[in-house]
Structure formats: C-alpha cells, structure tokens
C-alpha cells in the first residue's frame, strides 16, 4: 500500500527510490510491444529473448571495441537483430501455431547455448562488463521510447500493413484471397518485432553494468509472453499494461516477494480462466467494466433499439 501512497503523495521521492524498477518496467513494456506485433499478425513467436540478446551484446561489444556514440551502437544492435530476424524468419515462418513457437524457442536456446556461451567475444559464460553503463542516465531514453513506440505501433495497426496483419491473424487463406501476400507480411511483422526486441536489449545494457547470458533464456521469453497474455492483445495498450502490472507487482505485494513466480503464475491462470482476452480487451479496461456490466449494457442497447 505504501507503494501507491508514495506514488501519489511524493512522486519525486518515489521516482528516486524506484528508479531501477521504473527502468525495468519501461524495458518490459518495450518487450511487450515487440511480442504484440507478431501476436497481432497471428504468429505465436517466442524468439524475443534471442533478439534482445543480439541487441544487447552488439551494443556492448561495439562500445568496447569500436567506440561510437551510444545511440549509434544501440541502433546498430537493433538493426542487426532485425537482420538476423529476417534470416531466422525465412525457414521458421513457414511453421504455424505451436510448431512456430517451438522453433523460435529453439532459436533462443541455440543462440544462447550455441553462440553466446562459446564465442570469446561475448565473454562466453562469464558475460560482459559494460564500462559505459549509466543507470541513472539510461532511464531517460527508456522513458522517452515507451510512449513513442506505443504510439507508432498503435498507428501501425491502422495502416494498410496493420489491416493485412489483422486479416492474416483471422484467416490466412481468406487473406490471400483478398490479395494479401501472407508470407511477406508475416515476415515484416517478425522483423519489426525483432528490431523492437533488439532495441529493448540495447536499452537494458545501458542501465546494467553487466550483460549476463542467463538473462536471455527461454524463461525471459515466457515472461514476455505473459505480459501479452495478461494484458490482452487486441490493441497495443494491452501488452504494455500487462508489462507494467506484472513488473510492478512484486513491489506492490512486497510481503510475497519470495513467491514472485507463484504470484505471477496464479495471476496468469486467473486471467486465462476469467478474462481470456486479457486485462485490456475489446471495449477498454476490463477491471473497470466487468463482464456482467458489458452484458447488461448490451441488453439495454438491444432494448433501446427495439
């Protein structure tokens, strides 16, 4: 409770005290946006942690060996994630549903166990020290990026591209009968998702002094998936809300901090059972408008129409 009281009575103190948490919320929100893009086009891809790793390692390695302005490093990291996303997408996007999910998980683990832990330049299992990290300064680009990315992806869902994604998600066969080039649009979604995830990885290195390979395992991907599922994927606000909610949750319920994963699991189950479309479904925030309310309103409207 203190958490909320402080948030409203002493926002500056709150910010200073919870800076790392806020930064983490921002990173997770960006990751949630990344998985939203592929979800919106109907693809269950779980490669986000892998692309994150590419963004993170690229940024740090560049700043170690080829000093450039940090934004340039980060940009290169994000774009490299996108490029590798394209290469991975070529074989993997032929798959659908759970097979696609498994293949992308395979990519994440292959990247971590096969490349990162074995290539000297990544520090192998030891991870990498990031000399240019700046935990206090690093939070600024994060806080700027979240609303901008949210806005851009929200607009994107209204474009010709976004419309094609929605059609593909609903029915691929029908989409191609409408002249939508399904493989190309799926690939575009996958690449955008990879770039956003790579960008999140790059941002994260900026607030940590250390790049830890264990951060980029399947567990991370599943966590990102949880943001999207809990938040809801009908629009981009859902995953962002899910990320904010689930990241802040351990702080809110401090007394259960040790059971963080248990609490997350219970919430996930409750959402899937009672609110399968996520916290933010069609028609806004579900917590504010529970199902009986929507049902009652529909009935009222039907009555008014007659």
């Amino acid at each position: 409770m203190d958490f909320f009281v402080q948030l409203f009575t002493d926002p500056v103190g709150f910010y200073n005290q919870h800076e790392l948490l806020i930064a983490q919320i921002g990173i997770n929100a960006i990751l949630a946006i990344s998985i939203f893009v592929t979800f919106y086009s109907g693809q269950l891809t779980l490669a986000n942690a892998g692309f994150m790793a590419i963004g993170a390692y690229t940024t740090v390695i560049l700043s170690l060996y080829l000093p450039m302005p940090l934004p340039v490093d980060m940009l290169i990291g994000a774009l490299l994630a996108g490029a590798i996303g394209f290469l991975v997408g070529l074989p993997v996007l032929r798959l659908r549903g759970v097979f696609l999910a498994i293949a992308t998980i395979g990519f994440v683990e292959a990247l971590r166990l096969g490349v990162i832990l074995n290539v000297p330049i990544t520090g192998e299992g030891q991870g990498l020290k990031n000399p240019s990290a700046d935990p206090l300064g690093g939070i600024v680009p994060i806080l700027i990026s979240v609303p901008i990315l949210t806005y851009l992806v929200w607009r994107l869902t209204h474009t010709r591209l976004g419309q094609a994604w929605a059609a593909i998600r609903e029915d691929e066969l029908a989409a191609s009968s409408n002249g939508i080039n399904v493989p190309v649009y799926k690939m575009v979604a996958f690449i955008i998702s990879a770039v956003v995830a790579g960008y999140a990885g790059a941002l994260e290195t900026h607030i940590n002094f250390f790049v830890d390979p264990t951060e980029y395992s399947v567990t991370r991907t599943i966590q990102i998936l949880t943001f999207a599922v809990v938040g809801g994927t009908t629009n981009v606000i859902g995953p962002v809300v899910g990320a904010v909610f689930l990241t802040a949750l351990p702080e809110i319920v401090r007394q259960f901090a040790a059971y963080r994963d248990v609490v997350n699991g219970v919430i996930l189950i409750l959402v899937i059972v009672f609110r399968p479309q996520g916290i933010v479904g069609r028609g806004g925030l579900a917590i504010i408008a529970p199902r009986w309310w929507t049902r009652w309103r529909t009935r009222e409207r039907a009555a008014a129409a007659h």
Partner: protein
C-alpha cells in the same frame, strides 16, 4: 463475346485419386457460368486450382485480357480490361493466391472463411487491400488528406454492404461471427467484391440456406452480373444453378461429362446418371409415357406409414446455431423394413440420423425408439437399446487392424465370448474382412472400409441400423458390393434406415422412402413408386 478464363487439360490428383482429370473449360466474359457435379466431383478442387490454392500437375489456366486492379483513385469502376486490344493471356497455374487475386479474380469459400473477430465493415475494408495505397509510413502521422482517403474507403465499404443486402447501419459494426449464416455468406460476397474483380467465383453461396434466402442469393448474382461482372457459380442446388446460369459444366469423378446451356445439360443422360445413379437413364427414358400414373401411385403415401413403428419421429427440428438444418420432419420405421431418406447434399439427412443416435440434440419434436426417448437418452444407452449408427465417412480407426476395429465394435457388450464368436462369424460372412483381418484398416479400399464399418455396427447387435451414405466416394462396382451387403444383413432380420445421395440405388432396395429437401420432407412413398416419380428427378436436377 470473348473468353475471360480458359482452362486447358487441367489435371490434379491426390495419391491415386484423380480429383480433376483433364478438364478443359472456357468461361466467357460477362456470363454466369455454373459448375455442378455430385459430392466429391472435384468442383472445389478446380476452384482451388484456378485461384492458386493448389497447383495443377499439368495443364494450363489462362486469364485472357488481364489487368491488375488499379490502385484506388476514387473511382468505383473496375480497372480497365486490356480487353478488346488483347494484350495477351496470363498463365495463372503457378501463381500464389494473392497474385491471382491481384489479377482480378475474387472468390468465396465453401466453408465460410470470414475474419470472424473483425466487424462486417472491417471485413470489407480488408478485402480492399489491393486497392488501398500503401500508406504505412504516412499513416504514422495521420494528415487530413489521409483521413479523407480513409473516409472514402469506409464509404465504399458501406456501399458494398448495402449492395449485398446488409444495411451498414444495422450490420456494419457487428462482429462477423455474430451474423446469421446467410448474412455471413453475403458478407463474404461483399468482401470478395471489394477486390473489384473481373471474375467472381462463388463456391456454394447458397449452401444451408432456406428457399427464401436462396432466392435472394439468386437475385444478388443476377444483379452483379447485370453490372458487368463475370460469375463462376458452384452449387448443389440445381434450381439455383439452372435458373441463373447461362452456361453449365458438369463434373463427375474429376472429369467434365457435359458442357452447355442449362436446358441441354439437364437432359444429358450422362448427367442424369451421375446424379441419380446408374439406373436413372432407363427410368428417365421410361418417364414420358407414364408420368401421370406414377404421380397417382405416390399421391397416397400416408397409407404406407407403419401404424406401430419401431422408430417414431414426429415434427423433429434441429438447428446449428442460427442455421435450421431440420425443419419439422415426421416419419416412422417399422420392424423389418428398409427405409431410405434421400435428397441432395445439405438437405439435412445426416443431421436427422445424428439427432437420432444422440450425437446431436434436436431443438424440438419427438423421437422414440421403442420405449426410449431419443431426444434425451445418452448415446451409449441408445446403442445398448439396439439403435446403432454407421456414420458418414465410415470413421474406422485407420491405424488399428480390421480385427481390432471389430473388437471395438463389440465394446458395449458384456459377454466377451459371444462377441468373439460373432467376430469370427462376420469374418466368414464377409470374406473381404476375414482375409484382411490383420491389416491396418487404413490400408483397405473405400468400399472395404465401408463394409468394415457396417460389420462393426452389426457387432453392437442392432435392432435398427442407421446407415449414413454407405456409397459415398465409392466406385460404381464397389457400390454394388456394399448394397449387396446391406440386402444381406436386412435378410438376416435387421431393420435399416438408410441415408443416400445415390437415390435410385437406395430406392431399389428400400421398402419405403422419404425425399428430404432443405430440412423438410418433400415426397414419400414406396421405393418402387418414387423411383418412377419425375418429381424425384426434379428434386435432384431442378428440371
């Protein structure tokens, strides 16, 4: 008139089955072209070949005088056909579906394929994909000019909804999945029209509709055609196809067996045979002189109804969500009879059987089997009481052996020893099964599988056996074998209720029969009388 679409010697087979076998067609520009044929004749495969969903193994599919739909410039007129100038033909056979759509060929799907969670308007808007300028980057910062484009597109989508009979004020914002079945079909047409096509392919647009809805589909097709659209119509409803099409091609077992104007095609002996079975030709030849006498014999069918039936169905109604498949049907089956339900695809015959065996629950009405109320009894109890269904498509377990399939058929029985004896008995009775007892059932031919399915049904010791389309997808010779088996088990004392598309074969062995059309009983009478009835031919061919 010049041709718009030209198919030359198109072939496609699956495994050993020739789904489309050397078919050549020419669809003229501005016409309504009908493609008909019995179940499994290869009609939908042909559509999938034309629209790029499948690739032909050989042959060519050419779109003549093609032109891609122009990007939207505010005009609603179809893109100019390179047309009379004849730029040349475009080969469609190796193009992916979206590219074929880009050539101006729009289609609907036999099984509805709407964007179920999008609204009706959004469905149509998605259909305009090819005509929407690629505004992906500009839309990120929406400017007034774009908003104007958005509004114009929306306006056009509303017009399309209006055109197919879905007023946008009422339907525009509804999720596609919440629309009634008929409205969903209409919405699919609107979405296809959003492509602004040269050729519109409608795959069974009237399936599952009642006569009034069918009339509206017919009016819509005619209206679209008058506005200059070429239409390729596939449907089972002969009345619709014969009424609206100017040219018809008939497929049977993947081959084109007739091609011409409706009047010629409906008289074609090969077509009548394909639809009514091999006996039809003789009967058709026999019809003209004796029509009136035949009608007289069938006009008193009620007297043939049993007084104390084993199975008694009264005013049965069954619905699938919004679609009413069975609209108040009454009939009876007496002990020792073979009764047939015949009728075209989608008439509701299988639905009747499924609601008797407890697979489906009727909406209202009475269905009694002896003392058992079939509308509420659980399926396992229905089987134990002796009402056993052999389902459509056979539903044998392909990876189990013939013997294991039969053992499962005896599952409901307590006495393992007698079951074992019966299985051995069946193997002797049907040597086809005995010889293959240790083969996986999936390796049997279609007809052998059908016999296995019937034998499996017999092991449940039925008093009344429900047979759903036993001749489905079988070659003519195998159909004979299966019907011999049916006669044989009937002689052994099993009462049979038979559902068949192959009407004349069914009427040959049936004591009595009912002709079912769109969920109602159209005619009834003895098998022999119905076989000579011209009305039966009409129900099938829409004559």
């Amino acid at each position: 008139m010049s041709a718009l679409l030209q198919l030359t010697n198109v072939n496609r087979s699956f495994g050993g089955v020739h789904a489309v076998d050397d078919v050549s067609l020419e669809i003229e520009q501005g016409t309504i072209f009908g493609l008909i044929g019995p179940n499994g004749a290869g009609k939908t495969t042909l559509v999938n070949l034309v629209t790029g969903y499948m690739r032909p193994q050989s042959g060519s599919i050419k779109l003549l005088s093609p032109a891609a739909p122009a990007p939207e410039k505010g005009s609603n007129s179809p893109p100019p056909l390179a047309g009379e100038g004849r730029v040349g033909a475009v080969e469609l056979a190796r193009r992916p579906p979206h590219a074929v759509a880009g050539m101006g060929i729009a289609r609907t799907f036999q099984t509805l394929r709407l964007y179920r969670n999008l609204t009706a308007i959004e469905n149509v808007l998605a259909g305009m994909h090819l005509r929407r300028r690629d505004d992906t980057l500009q839309q990120l910062i929406p400017i007034p000019a774009l908003l104007k484009e958005d509004r114009r597109r929306l306006q056009h989508a509303r017009e399309l909804l209006e055109r197919v009979g879905l007023p946008p004020e009422t339907f525009g914002e509804r999720r596609a999945a919440t629309l009634s079945y008929g409205d969903q079909r209409r919405l699919e047409v609107a979405r296809a029209l959003a492509l602004n096509p040269h050729l519109l392919i409608l795959d069974e647009p009237a399936a599952g509709m009642n006569p009034a809805e069918k009339d509206r589909v017919r009016a819509l097709i005619q209206q679209l055609n008058q506005d200059g659209l070429t239409v390729l119509l596939i449907d089972h409803d002969m009345r619709l196809v014969m009424g609206v099409c100017r040219h018809i091609a008939v497929l049977n077992f993947g081959r084109k067996i007739a091609d011409g104007p409706p009047a010629t095609v409906s008289q074609d002996p090969a077509v009548i045979t394909a639809y009514l079975g091999s006996q039809a030709q003789k009967t058709a030849a026999h019809v003209p002189g004796s029509e009136e006498m035949d009608i007289a014999t069938t006009s008193t069918p009620v007297s043939a109804e049993p007084t104390s039936p084993l199975l008694d169905v009264r005013d049965l109604q069954v619905s699938y969500g919004a679609i009413q498949a069975v609209r108040g049907i009454s009939f009876g089956v007496a002990k020792g009879e073979i009764v047939a339900l015949i009728g075209a695809n989608g008439a509701g015959k299988s639905t009747i059987l499924n609601s008797l065996s407890g697979v489906l629950r009727p909406h209202s009405g009475v269905a009694r089997f002896g003392d058992l109320d079939l509308t509420t009894a659980p399926p396992d109890q229905i089987v134990r009481q002796g009402l056993v269904q052999v389902p459509e498509g056979r539903e044998i377990l392909a990876r189990l052996t013939v013997r294991e399939n039969l053992e499962l058929g005896a599952w409901a029985r307590r006495n393992g020893h007698s079951a074992h004896r019966d299985i051995e008995g069946l193997m002797k009775q049907f040597p086809i099964l005995g010889q293959r007892r240790d083969l996986p059932a999936g390796q049997l031919s279609g007809g052998e599988q059908q016999i296995l399915a019937i034998a499996r049904g017999l092991l449940a010791q039925p008093k009344l056996l429900l047979l759903d389309e036993p001749s489905l997808g079988l070659a003519p010779q195998m159909v004979d074998t299966v019907f011999d088996v049916i006669k044989k088990i009937h002689n052994d004392g099993v009462t049979i209720l038979l559902v068949e598309q192959n009407a004349l074969r069914a009427l040959e062995i049936a004591d009595r029969a009912y002709v079912v059309e769109t969920g109602r009983i159209l005619l009834s009478g003895t098998g022999a009388a119905l076989r000579r009835n011209p009305e039966v031919q009409k129900a099938y061919l829409g004559g």
